[in-house]
C-alpha cells in the first residue's frame, strides 16, 4: 500500500513542479543555513572543553546565608567561590571521580641562569587530579601523584612558555626551580596549555585573564609555605586573623573548586553529599539558614558567571528562528496545495477509502517533501561548512563542525513539520461528506 501512496505522491508533486521545487528548496535551505550558522556560532562562543564540559561541575555552598548575598546578586545565589575550611573538607571527602580545589598564585621565580633577573609568574595551586580532570596536555613528564598532595610535595608543573624562557625549551623534568626562594622539582612541562576562557577558575580570573598559566604547584604545599592568593577575595565579614593564615581561618571565599562526575547517578549522589555536608555543618551550629547549595555543570557555570558573551547565545536563537521560518513557509505552501484537493479526496472516499487511508496518503506526500528537502539540506550544510573555510578566519572555521546528532534532529524536525502541515487539510477534507465534494465540482 505504501508503494501506491509513494507513487501517488510523486504524481501529485510532478503536477506542480515549480511549487514542489520551491518547497524542497526552502526546507533544504533552511536546514543548511541554520545548521551552518549554528555550528559557526557555537565555535565562536567557545566551549573551552566541549568533549567534557557536561561532566565537569562547580559546587557552591551557601556559607554566608541571606545576609551575604543581599546586594545585587541574582537568584539568591550562594558565594561563587569557597572558603578554605570547606574546600579542604570537600577534598578530604573525595566524592567525585576527580576534583580539585585551586587558587591563583603569582610567585616570583629565580631562573637557574644567574644572569637573568627573577621573574614574576602566574599560575595556580591545585591538586594532582586537576590535570586528569581537565585533560591537560603534557610535553614532558606528568602531574605529581596523589601522594604528592598528601606529602605536600615540593613539585611543580610548568608551561612550555616558561620552560622556553628558563630552560631553553629542553626537557626540564627533574630539574630544580627556585620559586619564592624555595626549591621545587619540575615534574612536568605542559604543551602550551592556556585555555580561553580560563574556565577552571573563572572566579579569580574573570574568565579572560591577561596572565599566562605559567606553573601549577601542589595546593597543600602552597598553603604550607604561605604562598598568598593572587585572585579575588570576597568576604561577608572582616577576617579576625590577619594575613594569609587569617584568610584561611575566615569565611572569606577565594578558592575555586571543580569536580568531575561521570553520570546522572553520580551527580545526584554528589548533590546529596553536598546537602548532607551543609546539614551537618548546620547541626553543628555553623549556619542558621536554609539549605541553598548549587551544583552547576560547566556551561551553566560559565553562563551564571557571564563568561560567554551573551549575544552569542542570541545568535544561536537567530539561527533557530531561520529554521522555524523556513518550516512555516513550507507548511503554508503545502497547505495551499493540499486544500485544493478536496475533490480528489471526495472521489477516493466515495470509492470506499477509509479516512485513515487518506491521512496516510497525504502524510506520505508531505513527508516526501520534508525528507527530500532535508537531504538537500544535508548536502547544502556540507557545502556551507566548507564555504565557511574560505569566508571566515581559519581559527574560527576550523572550529566549525557539524554536530551529527543535531543534524539528525533537524532532519526529523523538517519531516515532522511538513507532515504536520499535511495533517490539517487532510483533516478538513476528510470531514466533508464525499457526496458533497463530488457535487460541487
Amino acid at each position: 500500500m505504501l508503494g501506491y501512496y509513494l507513487d501517488l505522491a510523486v504524481r501529485s508533486l510532478k503536477r506542480s513542479p515549480g511549487l514542489t521545487a520551491l518547497m524542497i528548496l526552502i526546507v533544504g535551505f533552511g536546514v543548511a543555513a541554520s545548521m551552518t550558522s549554528y555550528s559557526v556560532f557555537r565555535a565562536v562562543s567557545g566551549d573551552p572543553i566541549p568533549w567534557k564540559s557536561s561532566r565537569l561541575f562547580v559546587p557552591q555552598i551557601d556559607i554566608w546565608g541571606p545576609r551575604g548575598h543581599a546586594d545585587g546578586s541574582s537568584d539568591n545565589d550562594p558565594p561563587d567561590a569557597m572558603d578554605y575550611t570547606d574546600a579542604v573538607a570537600l577534598m578530604r571527602d573525595h566524592r567525585g571521580k576527580y576534583q580539585s580545589a585551586m587558587y591563583r598564585v603569582s610567585p616570583s621565580v629565580v631562573p637557574p641562569d644567574p644572569h637573568m633577573h627573577p621573574i614574576n609568574v602566574g599560575g595556580h595551586a591545585v591538586y594532582s587530579e586537576f590535570f586528569a580532570m581537565l585533560d591537560v596536555p603534557f610535553q614532558f613528564g606528568g602531574a605529581w601523584g596523589a601522594d604528592g598532595d598528601a606529602k605536600h610535595a615540593a613539585a611543580v608543573v610548568i608551561n612550555s612558555k616558561l620552560n622556553q624562557k628558563l630552560f631553553g625549551g629542553a626537557n626540564s623534568v627533574g630539574k630544580t626551580l627556585n620559586i619564592d626562594g624555595k626549591d621545587y622539582r619540575v615534574v612536568g612541562v605542559l604543551n602550551n596549555w592556556n585555555p580561553k576562557p580560563t574556565f577552571f577558575d573563572v572566579v579569580n580570573t574573570g574568565g579572560f585573564t591577561s596572565g599566562q598559566e605559567d606553573m601549577f604547584l601542589p595546593f597543600t604545599r602552597a598553603i604550607d609555605v604561605g604562598m598568598s592568593n593572587d585572585g579575588n577575595t570576597n568576604c561577608s565579614e572582616v577576617p579576625k586573623g590577619s594575613g594569609f593564615v587569617g584568610l584561611q581561618q575566615s569565611s572569606c571565599v577565594w578558592i575555586a573548586y571543580m569536580v568531575q562526575l561521570e553520570d546522572k547517578a553520580a551527580v545526584s549522589a554528589y548533590k546529596d553529599y553536598l546537602d548532607g555536608y551543609f546539614r551537618d555543618q548546620k547541626a553543628s551550629g555553623r549556619f542558621n539558614w536554609a539549605l541553598n547549595n548549587r551544583l552547576r555543570d560547566l556551561p551553566a557555570w560559565l553562563e551564571s558567571e557571564h563568561v560567554v558573551p551573551s549575544d552569542t547565545k542570541i545568535s544561536l536563537l537567530v539561527a533557530l528562528g531561520l529554521l522555524v521560518a523556513c518550516l512555516v513557509n513550507t507548511a503554508g505552501l503545502l497547505l495551499a496545495k493540499f486544500l485544493r484537493r478536496s475533490s480528489e479526496i471526495g472521489v477516493r472516499r466515495a470509492l470506499g477509502a477509509p479516512r485513515m487511508a487518506i491521512y496516510v496518503q497525504f502524510l506520505v506526500e508531505a513527508g516526501m517533501v520534508g525528507l527530500t528537502g532535508g537531504v538537500l539540506g544535508l548536502l547544502l550544510t556540507w557545502v556551507g561548512i566548507h564555504g565557511v573555510n574560505w569566508v571566515l578566519p581559519k581559527e574560527i572555521a576550523s572550529l566549525a563542525h557539524v554536530d551529527l546528532s543535531l543534524l539528525a534532529l533537524t532532519l526529523v524536525i523538517a519531516v515532522v513539520a511538513t507532515m504536520l502541515a499535511g495533517l490539517y487539510p487532510t483533516f478538513r477534507a476528510s470531514r466533508v461528506q464525499p457526496a458533497l465534494q463530488l457535487k460541487t465540482n
Binding site: 520551491l22 528548496l25 543555513a33 644572569h115 591577561s210 542570541i314 545568535s315 497547505l335 569566508v391
Partner: protein, 409 residues
C-alpha cells in the same frame, strides 16, 4: 479599491493566510532583532582607541639567553629606533589598546569600601602621550622626575618602601566621570589595591583598553613607569601613515643589527592589530547578515509561491472579472492590495513579537532596548519585499485574458 472582496477571498483560506502572516511576523521579528545585534557588534568594532591609530607600528620581541642591563639596552634600542628615517617618536609600552591581554587593577574611592569602585587597565611607559597621539584634555603630563623604573617599583613593593612608587596618575575622561561625576578630578585621590593612594594630575580624552571592552572600553590609567624590554611589552613607533611598512622593516633591521639574539614575537601596524582583535565580531556580524538575507529571501519565495498558486487557482474568476469589465490594472491592483494587507498584518504581529523577543533578551541577557527607529524601517523593508515578491504572480494574473471565463473547466 474595494477591500471587502479581498477579505472575503482570504476568509476562504484562513489557515494558509494565518501561516503566511505568521511567516512574515517571524521574519520581521527575527530580522529586527538580528539587525540590532549586528549594529551592536558594529558599535563595538567602532570603539575609539584615543590614539593616532593610522600612524603606529609595533614590535614585540623576546630574547635568547641572559640579558643583564635590560634597562640600558632598552634605552639604547629606543634611541636607535628614533634615528630610523621617518620615525617621529618611539616608546616601550606594557600593552596596547586592543592588543588582547591587559593588566588591570581595582580602584577604591575609599579603602574601607567592601567592593571596589571600578576596575581599570594600567598603562606604563615613557613618552606615551606624544607617541600614541593621546590627547591631554586637562591638567598636565608627567614631569621627567616622576618616572620610576618598573623593577625598582617591584622591589619597593616587596620592602614596603612607598617613596619609590609613583603616585601621580593620568586618567581618561570616562574614568574621571565614573569616579567623580560633575567634578574636576585634578588633584583628587583614588586608591589602588586598597592601601595605595594615587593623585590625578591630568585627564586624557580617551585611551581604549587592550581587551574586556564590555567592562568599560575607556577605563584606563596611565602611570609614570619606565619599562625595560621584557615578555609582553611592545616597542611602538609613530610615523606617517604611508611610511609604516618601510619604517617597520628598517626598525627591525636596526634592532637586529644592535643585538641579533632576539626573536620577533609579533609585529605590524596598529591597524592590523585592530583588524585582528575584532575578527570574531566581524565573523559574527557577517553570518548574522547572511542569516537575515536568507530569511528575507525565503520569505519572498514563500510569498511568490503562494501568490502564484492562488493566481492559478483563481484563473477562472479573474477571467470572469476581466469579462465583466475589470482592467488589467484592476487585477494587478487586487493582488498588490491583498499582499499589502497580509504584509501589514504580519508586520503588526511581527513588531509585537520583536518587542517581546527583545524584552526576553533584556531580562535574560542584559541586552539594551531595541530602538524604536527599527520598527518603521523594518515595516518599510517588509512592505517593499512583499510588493516585489507579489509583482510577478500579479502580472501573470493581469495577463489572464477575459476569454478564460467562457471556457468550461
Amino acid at each position: 479599491m474595494e477591500i471587502k472582496p479581498i477579505f472575503a477571498t482570504l476568509g476562504r483560506h484562513k489557515f494558509t493566510v494565518c501561516l503566511l502572516i505568521a511567516q512574515i511576523a517571524l521574519t520581521c521579528a527575527i530580522v529586527c532583532n538580528a539587525i540590532f545585534l549586528i549594529s551592536q557588534r558594529l558599535d563595538r568594532m567602532a570603539v575609539s582607541s584615543g590614539m593616532a591609530e593610522h600612524e603606529l607600528v609595533y614590535m614585540q620581541l623576546a630574547f635568547i639567553g641572559a640579558r643583564p642591563n635590560a634597562m640600558a639596552r632598552t634605552q639604547a634600542d629606543l634611541s636607535a629606533l628614533r634615528e630610523v628615517p621617518g620615525v617621529q617618536s618611539a616608546m616601550i609600552i606594557n600593552h596596547l589598546p586592543l592588543s588582547g591581554s591587559s593588566s588591570n587593577s581595582s580602584l577604591w574611592l575609599d579603602p574601607a569600601q567592601r567592593m571596589e569602585t571600578m576596575s581599570a587597565t594600567q598603562y606604563f611607559g615613557e613618552n606615551l602621550l606624544s607617541t600614541l597621539g593621546v590627547q591631554l584634555e586637562a591638567g598636565r603630563e608627567f614631569s621627567p622626575e616622576e618616572y620610576r623604573d618598573l623593577d625598582k617599583i617591584d622591589k619597593a613593593l616587596q620592602t614596603g618602601d612607598m617613596k619609590e612608587i609613583p603616585s601621580a596618575v593620568l586618567i581618561t575622561r570616562t574614568v574621571a566621570d565614573r569616579l567623580w561625576p560633575g567634578q574636576s578630578p585634578l588633584g583628587k585621590q583614588v586608591f589602588i589595591g586598597r592601601n595605595f593612594a594615587l593623585t590625578v594630575v591630568g585627564v586624557v580624552k580617551g585611551l581604549a583598553r587592550p581587551n574586556q571592552l564590555e567592562r568599560g572600553a575607556q577605563y584606563s590609567l596611565i602611570h609614570p613607569v619606565r619599562l625595560s624590554m621584557s615578555a609582553g611589552s611592545y616597542y611602538v613607533l609613530r610615523c606617517a601613515a604611508q611610511d609604516r611598512e618601510r619604517v617597520l622593516k628598517a626598525a627591525l633591521a636596526k634592532l637586529n643589527a644592535l643585538d641579533p639574539n632576539r626573536i620577533v614575537l609579533d609585529k605590524g601596524s596598529w591597524d592590523e592589530m585592530r583588524y585582528n582583535f575584532f575578527r570574531n565580531d566581524r565573523a559574527m556580524a557577517g553570518i548574522l547578515v547572511g542569516v537575515c538575507l536568507a530569511l528575507l529571501v525565503v520569505t519572498a519565495l514563500g510569498i511568490v509561491g503562494l501568490a502564484s498558486f492562488w493566481v492559478s487557482q483563481r484563473n477562472r474568476s479573474i477571467g470572469v472579472r476581466r469579462a465583466l469589465g475589470a482592467t488589467r490594472g484592476h487585477i494587478l491592483n487586487y493582488f498588490q492590495t491583498e499582499n499589502f494587507l497580509l504584509t501589514s498584518m504580519g508586520i503588526v504581529l511581527g513588531m509585537l513579537l520583536a518587542y517581546a523577543i527583545n524584552l526576553f533578551l533584556i531580562v535574560h541577557y542584559e541586552l539594551p532596548r531595541l530602538p524604536l527607529a527599527y520598527f518603521p524601517v523594518g515595516a518599510v523593508l517588509l512592505w517593499c519585499l512583499g510588493q516585489a515578491a507579489v509583482l510577478g504572480p500579479a502580472l501573470r494574473a493581469a495577463a489572464v485574458p477575459p476569454v478564460v471565463a467562457t471556457r468550461s473547466v
